[in-house]
Symmetry: C2
Subunit: 120 residues, 2 copies
Amino acid sequence: MVDVIDLQAKREKITEYWSPRIVGQLNDYLLKMAKIEGDFVWHSHPETDELFFVVAGHLRIDFRDHSIDLAPGQLCVVPASMEHEPFADTECTILMIEPVGTLNTGDAGGARTVSEPEWI
Amino acid sequence: MVDVIDLQAKREKITEYWSPRIVGQLNDYLLKMAKIEGDFVWHSHPETDELFFVVAGHLRIDFRDHSIDLAPGQLCVVPASMEHEPFADTECTILMIEPVGTLNTGDAGGARTVSEPEWI
């Protein structure tokens, strides 16, 4: 049976901020959801683009020379190697799509790295 | 500048049924949107999984041994090689994510194949 993945239902299962959970897989890409609030760390992913889709709330992504704002139903693809910092003024739920093994903190590493996200 | 891709705004640009349009790219994967109504052709993609996300309306996907129904905000990943036929009773808008070069009709080919979808 092919699973139906309901983003709002998955969203309700997430209780921690900045801790991605895996909700699906497309070949060697993972679909990860996270609830976020406040700021993160500046980082980039030298090896891969990264897709951000807003499920609920509002997401700002700061780049070194500009920022973008995303509302529910909007997405963006951050190019490989481009430094970025996600930010949410109030709680926001995002879906990310990126290759297996991509770390949330990219090349920055550090305490906020989630090396092995759980499936929900 | 990183583009904000608004799925509802893209949806309004699509006037033909069953004619995918490209709205974004993630590494060597394309994000394609299509408006659909009625049935399509049974087919599979031997080389790749295929992601379907419903933007508006309702999508049914028939498999040889079961069917699934997807509402807005729901998605599924059809495994490589699994035969499937998308269907929509009334107009439905879907986002698909699949590798560059993946044809809408997969291994079935035929008159409904769109070999070179346009960017919108």
